[in-house]
């Protein structure tokens, strides 16, 4: 029995590539070693298209599409690193750095932070926008982990991993706009919430917003690679 696979061919950055129907532009690009920057995306989690760093240009339309959710189409011509995109990516990173208090040198995630790495990769040398310097709290009520709102970029990876993978949905976002923040339960202290203490949220957090107390003052790498594997194991069951 042959399984008919709907194959699409398209062009990404001048390179002819083929893909299965339903694949996202990001998946196909990465399969072909074409790097598109991402921040809210994480392999193994549902995508929300919120950070806008993976926006790409599609020939024939002026609208930029998020590569993490836009699916491939036959004959599509995708550009992933035009000057226009690079400029927007830099401004978006600036917006992130200026939004809260991201001071790499004193951050627990220094050297292991995805925001920091993206800043370096995109050649962000300085921030032109005024720093907002909001006064935000640190929740250290949990016996193992700490939440530092000052470092949070609201990517909602913690919310998604807790809801989709752990199945507890302890995290969510409260408020709206610039006053949004991540919360546990009814904005209760993390330590007295219904947290299952699995620690997945800490591993997927791209910055120093969620960290392991035992790692303070030392190197704090994170290991989010377990997610696709977990999903695979569950599918096999």
């Amino acid at each position: 029995m042959s399984v008919a696979v709907d194959v699409k061919t398209l062009v990404i950055d001048g390179q002819n590539v083929s893909a299965r129907a339903g694949q996202t532009i990001l998946e196909v690009a990465r399969e072909n070693k074409i790097d598109i920057p991402t921040l809210c995306h994480l392999d193994g989690l549902g995508d929300v298209g919120a950070c806008r760093l993976c926006l790409v240009e599609i020939k024939g339309t002026n609208k930029l599409l998020p590569a993490c959710v836009a699916t491939v189409e036959e004959g599509m011509e995708v550009e992933t690193a035009t000057d226009r995109l690079k400029k927007h990516r830099k401004t978006i990173l600036e917006l992130l750095f200026a939004e809260r208090n991201h001071i790499c040198s004193v951050c627990v995630a220094n050297g292991h932070c995805e925001l920091q790495a993206l800043g370096q990769q995109q050649g962000l040398t300085h921030v032109r926008l005024p720093y907002r310097n909001p006064e935000l709290t640190v929740d250290a009520s949990h016996e193992r982990f700490t939440l530092d709102h000052n470092r949070c970029i609201l990517c909602t990876r913690c919310v998604r991993v807790c809801a989709e993978i752990e199945g507890a949905h302890v995290w969510d976002v409260m408020g709206r706009g610039i006053n949004s923040s991540v919360i546990t339960d009814l904005n209760d202290p993390w330590g007295s919430s219904s947290c299952t203490r699995c620690g997945k949220c800490v591993q997927v957090c791209p910055t120093g917003a969620l960290f392991d107390k035992s790692k303070v003052g030392s190197d704090h790498p994170k290991y989010p690679d377990f997610l696709p594997w977990l999903n695979l194991m569950r599918e096999a069951q």
């Binding site: 809801a163 949905h169 969510d172 409260m174 709206r176 919360i183 339960d185 009814l186 904005n187």
Partner: protein, 165 residues
């Protein structure tokens, strides 16, 4: 899997039965969250942790999700309203007609910023993003009643009447 039993009513306050009624009407489905919160707010005047917890548990909505919804929509209030509420419309038509001066005058008179209630619990000062009565701008709602072409003096008089009640 054991059948789901909804939590008991928080108290024998009859208003909880109205709240339960809204949820029952919607088959205790998750999507009834906002409908039910509307019912709680109209019955109790505001939403507190206990009521959100009760509704969330009854509808099997994660607590954080329920709290996220409550704080997303400006119509929902987490604090009890004052005995009287002055709501000043700050929509565009009202802004052009100088509603910002009304807000400033009320804030000064009550010595509270908008969105808050005086310490004696008598008057809440709120702003609204357009109540759709732009033809009568600037408008305010005094205890929910729409008053058009409001002047500073008129508004202060009203606040004065409430304050001495």
């Amino acid at each position: 899997m054991p059948a789901f039993t909804p939590p008991p009513l928080p108290s024998d306050d009859k208003r909880w039965k109205i709240v339960n009624g809204t949820m029952r009407k919607n088959g205790f489905a998750r999507y009834a969250l906002i409908e039910t919160l509307h019912t709680v707010q109209s019955a109790f005047g505001y939403l507190d942790d206990d009521s959100i917890r009760f509704v969330a548990r009854s509808l099997r909505v994660p607590l954080s999700q329920a709290y996220g919804v409550v704080t997303f929509y400006h119509y929902f209030s987490l604090k009890p309203p004052g005995k009287h509420t002055m709501t000043i419309c700050t929509g565009t038509a009202c802004y052009i007609k100088g509603t910002d001066k009304l807000v400033a005058a009320a804030e000064k008179r009550l010595a509270i910023p908008q969105g808050q209630t005086t310490a004696d619990g008598k008057i809440s000062l709120m702003t609204a993003r357009c109540v759709g009565a732009c033809g009568r701008a600037p408008v305010v709602l005094t205890d929910g009643e729409l008053v058009g072409q409001m002047t500073g003096e008129q508004m202060l008089e009203q606040l004065e009447r409430w304050a001495v009640e």
